[in-house]
Symmetry: C2
Subunit: 157 residues, 2 copies
C-alpha cells in the first residue's frame, strides 16, 4: 500500500544549497499553500514556543537512498549504523522532522528559527511541540551522534 501526500507549503530560507552544518545562521519561514489553507490553519500556534516541522528531502535522488547500514556522513571514525539509527537525509521516504522555535505567525506564514531545511523544501505537516510529547525518562545516545551534532546548529559553539 502506498501513501500519497500533498505538501501543505514550502520552506523559505536564506540557505539555498544543501550543506550539513551551521544551520543557526539562517533565517527561515514556512509559507502555507494558500490554495488550500487560510490563516485559520495556524490559529493559536503563536501560543506555543516550538513547532515540529515535517518535511521532504526532495533533492535526494532515489539512487542515493540507503536501506541498510552505512557510516554516518561516510566518516571512517564512526561505526556502521543502520539508516533508522541515524537521521541523515538519504533515507527511505526522505522525510525530515525538526523541532524549530516559533518566531511569529503572520497570516499564512510561520517564521521560525533553527530549521535545517533549504529554500523550496516541501513541508508535509506542522505540529505544536508539547512538553508531554518530549522524551520521557533519561536520554542516552552514542558518542558518534554527539560528535556529529557538534557543529550542526552552530560551528562556533
Amino acid at each position: 500500500m502506498q501513501i500519497t501526500i500533498d505538501p501543505i507549503g514550502h520552506v523559505r530560507s536564506t540557505r539555498a544549497e544543501v550543506r550539513d552544518d551551521d544551520w543557526d545562521r539562517e533565517v527561515a519561514s514556512i509559507e502555507l499553500d494558500t490554495t488550500t489553507f487560510g490563516p485559520d490553519a495556524l490559529l493559536g500556534l503563536q501560543q506555543f514556543s516550538h513547532v515540529e516541522v515535517l518535511y521532504c528531502f526532495d533533492q535526494v535522488p532515489e539512487s542515493k537512498i540507503e536501506r541498510g547500514a552505512r557510516r554516518p556522513r561516510g566518516n571512517p571514525d564512526w561505526p556502521l549504523v543502520g539508516i533508522f539509527a541515524q537521521r541523515g537525509k538519504n533515507r527511505p521516504n526522505r522525510l525530515g522532522a525538526t523541532i524549530a522555535k516559533i518566531v511569529r505567525v503572520e497570516g499564512t506564514t510561520l517564521h521560525v528559527s533553527g530549521l535545517d531545511a533549504v529554500d523550496g523544501t516541501p513541508v508535509v505537516d506542522l505540529k505544536p511541540y508539547m512538553d508531554e510529547f518530549g522524551p520521557r525518562g533519561a536520554v542516552t545516545q552514542p558518542t558518534w551522534a554527539t560528535e556529529l551534532m557538534h557543529g550542526y546548529w552552530d560551528t562556533s559553539a
Copy 2:
C-alpha cells in the same frame, strides 16, 4: 507535486481500537517490512534510549480531515485552534510523530514503550532521538494543551 510514500513497516500493539487516552498501558513494537529491510537497517539503534516514530493515521477517512480551525476534541471549554496548532489525527496528510522509549531491538522488530498508535498502523520512518534535536530554549504551551494531555499517557497519573 504529490509525494509518494511506502510504509517501512507496521505497528503491533495490544490496542486495536482507536481511543484517545491511557496509552502507557499498551505493549507495542514495530515490525519492518522484511521484503525491503533486514536487521542491518536497525543496527546501532539500541544505543539510543528513544526513537522518533513517524506513522500514518490510516483509519481517518478523507471526509474527516480538518484544514482550518476547530476546538480540540470538540471540547467547548477549549478555544478554536488551527489544525497545525494541535496534534489531533484528523489532519492533512494524516501523519503522526511520537518519541517512544526503546525497549529492545530483535532482528527486524523494534520493541518500544509509549507509542500512541494502534495495531496495524503503517510506519513511514524511524529516527533516533538525539538531545540536540530536542527543543532549544524554554518550552511554553497554552493551558488547553496541558489539560488535553493530562490522561494521554496515564489516566491514573
